[in-house]
Symmetry: C2
Subunit: 723 residues, 2 copies
C-alpha cells in the first residue's frame, strides 16, 4: 500500500523496454560500424556509446557537406541483365533453398511488360563478393528498380496527389505531368525515393497470377488467376521479406535537421514525410502537437505545485480547464492533421483497393466485388469467433488482471501488518516484495496477452489488414488500459485515499521521467565518455568518410529489425494522456512531467527510426485513424473520473454538510452538462480548416464545370432528332 | 395541478391545426370541384364532406380505368412559338405589372441555345380565355417544357442515378443511355415526370446572367456575370413563384394505392418517390418504419396496462428493453434508409454545387471557390450574429418559457387552494382557468417564436439554403422540446409525483389520439352522411369523368398553398418519439397510442400531399438529415430520464433502505454503462447493409479497373524515351 510498488513496477517495465533498446542499438551498430569486423568484441554498451558519441560530437560541417552530394541514384546503381544501370530501390529476399525455376519465373514476371500482365520493373540479383566476411546466411536477394517513366505511371496507379501549378493538390496523371509544380525535364526529381519505393511495393503486390495453377517449382503452392504472386510467396515462406533500402545521404541530412542538434524549433515534418511517408510523419506531428498542447497545462500546474497543494477549490478550476482543454486539443488536432494531410496529398486521396492480407485463408469462391476467384470466408463465422471466443477471452483476461491486482493489495496489507508487528530490516525488505512480484506478474501478463491477442486476431481470419489491425488495437488497448489504470482507479474510488493516489501518480511519472533521462542521455553519455578515446580512434580509422559498398549495406539492413508500425508509440502516448487527463485534478504537475518526457521521446524515437530499424515502406495516411477515437474515449472517461474526484474532495464535501445526496446529484448534473458540452464543442468545431475546405470545394467545382463544358460541346455535336 | 390542463392545451393546439386543415380542404375543393361555380354557397363543412364522400364511396373500377389512360403529355400539350407542341411541366408566374421588355428577355434567355448561355427549354405563355369566371388576378404565367433530348442531357447535368442493366445504380450519361435498364426507344418513358420537373428547375436556376448589368426593364435590379437570373427575379418579386404541375392521372393512381383504400400493406414508397421525389418518400418511409418499430413495444405495453400497474420491478425491465430498442431502432433505420436511397439512386449521388439562397446578400466580391463575382458576407460577422444575438435570444426565450410554466404551476396551486376553501361550481370552473390560459400562452409563444426564429435565421444571412435550414431547425427544435416537455420534467423530477406524471402523459396521448380519430375520420364521415344526397347529386352532375381544362388547372394550383417541406411532419414525429421514450417506464401504453395515432397520420398526410398543397419539386435526399441526429439525441436523453425515473420508484428505493447515496451511485453507474453500451452498439452496427456495401465497392472497383486498363493502353502507345 505504498507508492514504491509503482516505482518497482515501472523500473521493471522500463528496463524491459531498455533492453530492447540495447538490442536496437547493437543492431544499429551493424549498419554503420560493422566494417570494424571485430563485432564480437564489442559489448552492447560500447556499441551504444558509439552512437551517443556521434550524437554529441559529430561535426556539423561534415554533415552539411553531405547535403550537396546529389541524389542516391548517382551514387549507387546496379545493372540489369540488359546492361542498363538502374537505382536499386527495393530488396526482395528469397529463402536460401528457393528453386532456380521459381526464381527465373518470378524475375520474368516482374520484368514482363504490363500488357502481358507483368510489373515491368527492373530487377537484378545481388552479387555477393567472396571476400565479404559479414556474409552470414546464403540468402538470395534481388534489387528491384524502375525507369522513371514506369514510376510516373505507377504514381498515377496508386493515385498519388501532387501540388499543381496553381497551388492546389491534385491527383497526378501522366498526361498532365507538365502542369504539376515540381515537374521538370523527364521528371526524375519529381517523386521522392519513399514514393518510388511505395510505388514499387504497390506494383509488386498487384502482380497477379495469370494461368498458373501453382508456383513453378512448388506444386503444392497453389495459385489461381488474379492472386497476388508476392503475397502467396510470402505466406508460404518462399519470399522471406522485401524492404526498401535506406538512402545514406538523405538519412544523414534528415537526422541532422531532426535530432542530431538540440533545437527548440519544430520537427522537419515535411522531411520526415519525404523519407518515411505520411503515417510516420503524422505520428511525429502528433507527438509534437501533444507536447506543445500540454505546455499551457504544465505552466498552470507549476503554481499549484509551488503554492496550493491542498486547495481543492482551485483544483476544481484546474479540472474544468483540463476538460475543456482535452476536448479542444483533440478537435484542433483533427484540423492540424487535415492541414498536414492536405499538404501531403493524402486528405482527398482515394484508398487503393485493399488486397486480402497474407494470412487470410478460406475456401475458394467468387469475390462479389471484384468477380475474381479467391478465398472467401463467411462473415458469420468470423462474427461468431469474435463474439463467442475473443470477447469472452478478453473479459476473462480483464477479470484475471483485476484479480491479480486484488491479490497484490492483499499482499501489501499482509506485508504491512507483519512490518507493524515487528519493524526490523527483514520485515522492511518484505514491504517491497509484493510490489516487485506484482510488477513482474503484470509484465508477464502483458506479454502473454499480447501474444494471445495476436493469435486470436489472426484466428478470426480477417480479410483485410486494416480490419486485422483495428481488432488487434482494440484488444490490446482495453487490456493495457485496465492493467495500467486499474490500481489507480482502485486507490481513488474504492480506497478513496487521495494522498496515496497523488503519490502513486507522482511516483509513476517522476520515475518514468528520471529513468527516461538516464537511459536516453546520461547513461550512454557516461559510457561514451569512458570508452571515448578507444572507440573514437577505431571508428575513425575504419570508417573515414567512405560509403559502405552496396552489398554490405543490403546485408546489414536485411538483419535489422522490422519496424512494426506506430502501434507501440501511439500506445505509449495514449497511456501518458491517460495519466495527464484521468486524475489531473489531483496532480496538476503531471502535464509538466509528460512534456519533459516527450521532449526526450522525440529524440529517442527519431534515432530509433533512422538507425535501429529497417527503413519501413511509406504508408499513406490522412489521419491517426483509430487512435483519434481512442484519445477521444479517454477524454470522455476523464470527464467522469475528474467529476468523481471533485465530489470526493473534502472542500467540496464541506459545501454540502450532511447532504451527501445533494452533493452527488449536483456532481452528476455537472458531469452530464460537461459531457453534453464536449459533444456540442466537438460538433461545432469543423474538422477541416476553412481554407482547405475552400480548396477542396474549388477542385470539385472545377471538375464539375469541366465536365459540364465537355458535355455541352458533345451535346452540340449530336443532331437534335427527337423533338 | 391536474391533467386537465393538458387536455385543454391539446384541444387548443389541435383545433388550431384543424382549422388549418379546413383551410386546406376548402382550397383543395377548388381543385376538383371549382367547376360547380357555386363556390360561395359551399360552406367549409360541405366541402370537407365532398372529400370524405369520395374517400369512402368512390368506385375503384373507375379509378383503375384511369390507370390505363396513358401519359400526361398525351392528354395535355401546348404549342410553343414555333408551333411544335410540348408537355407543360413547370409554370412560371410573373408579377402582373412585369415589363414586356423583361418578359421578352427572359423568354429569349430560357429558349436560347446552351452554347449561347441559354437554358434551351421550351416555353409558352398561358392563354387565359375570356369567359373563365375563375380568373381572379391577371397573373402572367408561362408553361415551361422541354424536348426529351434536352431532358436526358439535363439528367446527366444534375447527376441522376439510374438502374444499369446489371442491376447496379449508376450515374446516368447520355452516351451510355442504351445500357440503362429502362431505356427504350428515344427514352421518352425513361424519366419520371417528377424527375423532368426537377431537371427543369435545375436548368432554370442555373440560367446565369451573361453581360447584363441589370434586368432589362428594371434598371435597379442589378445583375453581374454568373448570377442566377431566376433567383434574382424571385428575390426582387418580379418572378412571383414557379411550381411543377400536378398530373391528375398519375395522382389518381397514386392516391388510390396509397390512402384511398384502407389497407394493412406497406405504403407504395416507390410510387410516392416517383411522384413527389426522394425527400418526401423518405419521410413516409420513416413514418411507416417508426410505426412498425413501435408495434413490439405496444404489444409488450398491453399486459402492463392490464395486469401490473404499480409493479415497478417489471417497469425496470421494460425501460431496459426500451433503451436497447430506441438505439437499435435508430441504427436499423439508417440501414433501411440507405437501402431505400440506394434503390432510388441518391445514396452515392454527389450533391450538386449549391447556389446562394435567394435572400442572401453582401458586398460584391469574388467567391473563392468558383472564382465568380458574387456577393460575399464575412463568416466572422455571421458567427458574431449567431453567438452574440441568436444564442442569447434563444436562451432568453427558453427562460421565458420556463418562467411561464412556473406561473402556471403557481396559478394551479392558487386555484386549488381557493377550491379547497370553498368547493362550489364557480371555484371548480376556476380550476380549469390556469390550464386554458397556459395552453393559449404556449401556443402564442410557439407562434411568436417561430416567426422570431425565421427572422433571426434570415438575419444571420446564411449563404446556403441547407445551412439556413439547419440553423432554423435547431432553434425551433430546442424551443419546442422545452415547451412540450418542461412541465413533464417538472412533474417528474421536481414534484416527483409519478401518479400525476403518468396521468399527464396518458391524458396528453389519449386526447391527442381521440381528437385525431374524430377530426380525421368520424367528424367528416358524419358530415358526409348528413349532406350525402345533396352533394352526391351535384358532384355527379358537374364533374362526370370530365377532365379540368389546362388553364383552369393552372389557375387552381397557383392558388393552392405551397408545401414548405417536411419540417413540421418530422417535428410532430420527434415530439411523439419523445413521449414514447422519455417517460416510457412510467407509462408503457404510450407506444400503443402512438401506433394508433400514426396509422391515421399516414392517411391524413397522404391526403394533404395529394390534394391540399401545390405539387412540390422533387428533392433528392439520401437520408433524413438533421432529424437522425435529433432522434439520436432524444434517445440519449431518454437514457438519463428513464434511469432517473427508475431511481425514484418506491420499489427500487426499497432495495436500498436508508442508503440513498448507495442507490444514486448505483443508478449513475448503470446509466453510464447504458450510455456506453448505446455508443458501442451504434458503432458496431454498420450504417449501410452488407449487400449495398458490396454493390458500391463493386462499382468503385470496376471504375478503378477501367481506369487502369485505359492507362495501360495509353502507356503502351507512348514511346519509352526516358529509360
Amino acid at each position: 500500500m505504498s507508492p514504491k510498488f509503482f516505482f518497482f513496477s515501472y523500473v521493471e517495465v522500463h528496463w524491459f523496454n531498455k533492453l530492447h533498446l540495447f538490442e536496437y542499438l547493437s543492431n544499429d551498430a551493424d549498419v554503420s560500424y560493422a566494417l570494424t569486423s571485430e563485432r564480437n568484441i564489442h559489448s552492447l554498451l560500447s556499441v551504444c556509446a558509439c552512437f551517443i558519441y556521434e550524437l554529441f560530437t559529430v561535426c556539423p560541417s561534415r554533415l552539411y557537406r553531405a547535403q550537396g552530394s546529389g541524389k542516391m541514384q548517382s551514387n549507387l546503381s546496379v545493372s540489369d541483365s540488359d546492361g542498363s544501370s538502374f537505382a536499386p530501390l527495393v530488396v526482395l529476399e528469397l529463402a536460401e533453398d528457393t528453386e532456380a525455376e521459381t526464381i527465373a519465373w518470378l524475375l520474368n514476371r516482374i520484368k514482363d511488360k504490363q500488357q502481358n500482365g507483368g510489373a515491368e520493373l527492373l530487377v537484378e540479383q545481388l552479387q555477393v563478393s567472396g571476400q565479404n566476411e559479414l556474409k552470414r546466411s546464403p540468402k538470395v536477394s534481388f534489387f528491384v528498380g524502375s525507369t522513371w517513366q514506369r514510376l510516373l505511371n505507377g504514381a498515377e496507379d496508386v493515385g498519388l496527389f501532387k501540388e499543381f501549378h496553381d497551388g492546389t493538390m491534385r491527383g497526378f496523371t501522366y498526361a498532365n505531368r507538365e502542369s504539376f509544380k515540381d515537374f521538370q525535364g523527364d521528371g526524375d526529381d519529381f517523386l521522392s525515393i519513399a514514393e518510388c519505393q511505395y510505388i514499387i511495393k504497390h506494383e509488386l503486390e498487384t502482380l497477379r497470377a495469370k494461368a498458373e495453377v501453382h508456383v513453378p517449382g512448388y506444386p503444392k503452392v497453389k495459385l489461381y488467376p488474379g492472386k497476388s504472386v508476392i503475397r502467396r510467396l510470402q505466406s508460404k515462406g518462399i519470399l522471406v521479406q522485401y524492404y526498401p533500402l535506406h538512402d545514406k545521404e538523405e538519412l544523414k541530412r534528415l537526422s541532422f535537421s531532426w535530432y542530431r542538434k538540440i533545437n527548440l524549433s519544430f520537427q522537419p515534418l515535411d522531411d520526415i514525410r519525404h523519407y518515411f511517408g505520411e503515417g510516420l510523419a503524422l505520428y511525429f506531428g502528433f507527438l509534437e502537437y501533444f507536447t506543445f498542447a500540454l505546455v499551457p497545462m504544465a505552466l498552470i500546474g507549476i503554481p499549484y505545485y509551488l503554492f496550493a497543494w491542498e486547495d481543492y477549490d482551485k483544483y476544481v478550476l484546474f479540472a474544468v480547464f483540463n476538460l475543456v482543454w482535452s476536448t479542444v486539443f483533440l478537435e484542433v488536432w483533427k484540423r492540424c492533421s487535415a492541414q498536414l494531410a492536405y499538404g501531403w496529398g493524402t486528405l482527398s486521396r482515394k484508398k487503393a483497393f485493399e488486397e486480402p492480407r497474407p494470412g487470410f485463408h478460406g475456401a475458394l469462391g467468387t469475390n462479389l466485388v471484384t468477380g475474381r476467384e479467391e478465398p472467401v470466408y463467411s462473415n458469420t463465422k468470423r462474427q461468431l469467433r469474435i463474439y463467442l471466443v475473443s470477447v469472452p477471452f478478453v473479459l476473462l483476461c480483464l477479470h484475471l488482471s483485476l484479480y491479480v491486482m486484488m491479490i497484490y493489495f492483499d499482499m501489501e496489507n499482509w506485508a504491512l501488518s507483519i512490518y507493524d508487528e515487528d519493524p526490523n530490516l527483514w520485515t522492511s525488505v518484505l514491504l517491497f516484495i509484493p510490489s516487485i512480484i506484482y510488477a513482474v506478474v503484470i509484465e508477464i501478463m502483458n506479454l502473454l496477452y499480447r501474444h494471445a491477442a495476436e493469435f486470436l486476431t489472426g484466428w478470426e481470419n480477417h480479410r483485410l489488414e486494416s480490419s486485422f489491425q483495428n481488432h488487434l488495437v482494440l484488444k490490446v488497448l482495453v487490456f493495457n488500459f485496465v492493467n495500467c489504470f486499474a490500481s489507480l482507479f482502485y486507490i481513488a474510488f474504492v480506497m478513496q485515499d487521495m494522498l496515496l493516489l497523488r503519490q502513486s501518480l507522482a511516483t509513476l511519472l517522476i520515475t518514468s521521467q528520471i529513468l527516461n533521462q538516464i537511459m536516453e542521455a546520461f547513461l550512454p553519455y557516461w559510457l561514451q565518455r569512458r570508452r571515448n578515446k578507444k572507440v573514437h580512434k577505431r571508428v575513425r580509422r575504419m570508417m573515414g568518410d567512405k560509403e559502405l559498398p552496396l552489398v554490405e549495406q543490403v546485408q546489414l539492413e536485411s538483419d535489422m529489425n522490422t519496424y512494426l508500425g506506430t502501434f507501440d508509440d501511439y500506445l505509449e502516448q495514449f497511456l501518458l494522456f491517460g495519466y495527464v487527463s484521468l486524475f489531473s485534478c489531483v496532480y496538476p504537475l503531471a502535464a509538466l512531467l509528460v512534456v519533459l518526457n516527450n521532449i526526450t521521446e522525440v529524440y529517442s524515437d527519431a534515432f530509433k527510426m533512422c538507425h535501429v530499424f529497417k527503413r519501413p515502406f511509406s504508408e499513406p495516411a490522412s489521419d491517426i485513424g483509430v487512435w483519434q477515437l481512442a484519445f477521444e474515449t479517454m477524454s470522455a472517461i476523464a470527464v467522469v473520473t475528474n467529476c468523481a474526484l471533485i465530489a470526493l474532495s473534502p472542500q467540496v464535501k464541506a459545501y454540502f454538510p450532511e447532504m451527501e445526496t445533494q452533493l452527488i446529484l449536483t456532481v452528476v448534473a455537472v458531469e452530464h452538462c460537461v459531457l453534453a458540452f464536449k459533444f456540442i464543442l466537438a460538433f461545432i468545431i469543423p474538422d477541416v480548416p476553412k481554407d482547405i475546405q475552400i480548396k477542396l470545394a474549388k477542385l470539385e467545382f472545377e471538375s464539375l464545370e469541366a465536365l459540364k463544358k465537355k458535355k455541352m460541346l458533345e451535346a452540340a455535336e449530336i443532331p437534335k432528332t427527337d423533338k
